[in-house]
Symmetry: C2
Subunit: 352 residues, 2 copies
């Protein structure tokens, strides 16, 4: 597959991606190579990665605990101390091998170590391939607030290879699917159709087209001043729901995709109420999403806390919550204000 | 005084600086104004700042503990939590009012909050005026390692006003003087002569010329790939000595300038040994510095730990310690390697 050129780096696929990375590492431009993994990617992806690289090179492995709950500054401090103690310097490189937690946190860690060292992303989940692989968003959570601390910083290169998905649980594949549905609803309905009818037969194409769309948006608006906000469809309510379920002791955590899927149903409802998205299309979106994701009970008791989390969303300015809504498939509106009552109604609609 | 244009911001002086800042704040481009202070700048500088601004505006004050010992990630986390709880958003601005700890840490905090908000630096110490006011280096320490975690990030504007120095202790003035001596030795000997003969009569000129020199260097090499390293003269050994005295329970801490002054004596010695700096000039440098700064006892017992700290210097690559040395006044050499024996000899020379 043809590589995708982003701001000042490329997303390179499969065999070619690993070959390019091999050349880069064997060119001796780096004084030391660090590989950041978690327990899962150490077990399932590291050997595969080394075999694919087909290169005799020395590296230092840094392992962190898995899961969003560890995507925080405490983990960053651990990694910074590791890199320091292992003799990392300004010419070191950090390879992140993992899902969004690893690539987001690793990119942030690398960008702040001695005022910035190179990093290379090898996303190993569907979610991180279609979402985190381009766009330069790095960061970690602050308490319950997702990605509150972070930077725009670009990797040196990104290698995407669907072989890493082989050992991924179905639930994790579905987590990435939500982002593909988002690209489908906002940008290219064929992706939505493919997901709803074809049961992932063309996963390669889905990944490639998703990255292509995200890259197109990011190149036009790297720092999210306007257009890039479209990528937040489903994410305003989705993030708040994800945070709530992550922190609450009463309920089990949701994956990012499960939360975003709920967010897309709710925000499609808002779209129908405020703009021209037809009721038929709204129903189709809800039906498609509920065929993929088990219905979650969002009790009315959770509403106040979810609203409060919404108010801390990074996208807010002057306390105003901003939504991306749909006027139709492939036709979106940015910076939409919605009343609290309507937000709660949209949660009722999901529950109904 | 004419403002100095840096990368994408200006250093504006005295009354004009405060007027420009007033206009910026009253233009309503910011959703919320945060002012970061420590105990000292809250007491001595905040009222002065507000009087000089002559503007009726609302702000949130964030106070942190004074001193290098608090320039760490724990303090950053406190400030990030404060800003979050006070409703900071992407259109907030952080004004840093203080010395290097406040401006370095504040710049880092702002640059990572929700992937970056504007910050404005009001340096209130001589050191931060002549050193931290331009160059875009932000950061905090990791354990004993100075500025190990940080970023290149530029403020929106910098306001420099020597009125803030009025309440500064003599020791703090001297801390800034070391950087002026550095500019003198490496770039413009008239600054060195002025310091050694004129007892700060023209402090305004010293500040202005120092910022001018630093800016010239930074504009040519913003990310410290080569030329900018000249600004590290005295800092390789100086930083290690500063870290040692900061952490050791056996000795009292030194100011940054006191440590850099020792570093300059030692590195001048290395310059004489390796390059063409004459013994007369070496003696003049040592004499001038010891007239300003009380001699410090650097016991041979400290040498091993100082050497070990040197090996973690950010400027090292492949474990090689890099020095900036002098071939003569205003004539420097970058990336010089020096044997451990000679490094220890240079400490002996300082002690002699």
């Amino acid at each position: 597959m043809k590589s995708i050129q982003s701001l000042n780096y490329s997303v390179v696929f499969n065999k070619e991606g690993h070959q390019e990375l091999s050349s880069l590492l064997s060119s001796n431009s780096y004084s030391k190579v660090f590989i950041l993994v978690d327990k899962n990617t150490k077990k399932y992806c590291l050997q595969k990665f080394k075999t694919k690289l087909n290169l005799d090179f020395t590296y230092e492995l840094i392992e962190i605990n898995s899961g969003e709950i560890n995507k925080n500054l405490e983990t960053c401090i651990q990694v910074w101390n590791h890199i320091t103690n292992l003799g990392g310097d300004r010419k070191s490189v950090l390879i992140t091998l993992g899902g969004g937690v690893i690539t987001d946190l690793g990119g942030f860690v690398a960008s702040c170590f001695k005022r910035g060292i190179d990093f290379i992303n090898i996303p190993t989940t569907l979610l991180s391939m279609v979402d985190a692989s381009v766009g330069g968003k790095t960061g970690v959570d602050l308490g319950v607030l997702k990605n509150q601390i972070g930077l725009f910083a670009n990797p040196k290169m990104v290698v995407v290879d669907e072989d890493y998905l082989e050992t991924l649980a179905e639930r994790e594949i579905k987590s990435g699917t939500a982002e593909i549905i988002k690209y489908g609803l906002t940008y290219d309905k064929s992706l939505f159709d493919e997901i709803s009818t074809n049961n992932y037969k063309n996963i390669n194409t889905l990944i490639y087209r998703s990255i292509e769309i995200k890259n197109e948006v990011v190149l036009m608006d790297p720092k999210e001043n306007y257009l890039r906000k479209v990528l937040n469809f489903g994410h305003t309510l989705g993030h708040a729901i994800e945070s709530y379920f992550l922190e609450s002791t009463k309920v089990k955590s949701l994956t990012h995709g499960e939360a975003i899927a709920i967010g897309m149903v709710c925000e499609s409802y808002l779209s129908t109420k405020i703009f021209d998205l037809s009721i038929e299309k709204l129903k189709l979106i809800k039906k498609t999403i509920l065929e993929i994701y088990t219905k979650v009970d969002i009790s009315k008791n959770y509403y106040p806390e979810i609203l409060s989390l919404l108010k801390h969303d990074k996208k807010n300015v002057n306390g105003q919550i901003n939504f991306v809504l749909l006027n139709d498939f492939e036709d979106y509106k940015i910076d939409c204000k919605v009343s609290e009552d309507l937000i709660l109604e949209s949660l009722d609609f999901y529950n109904s």
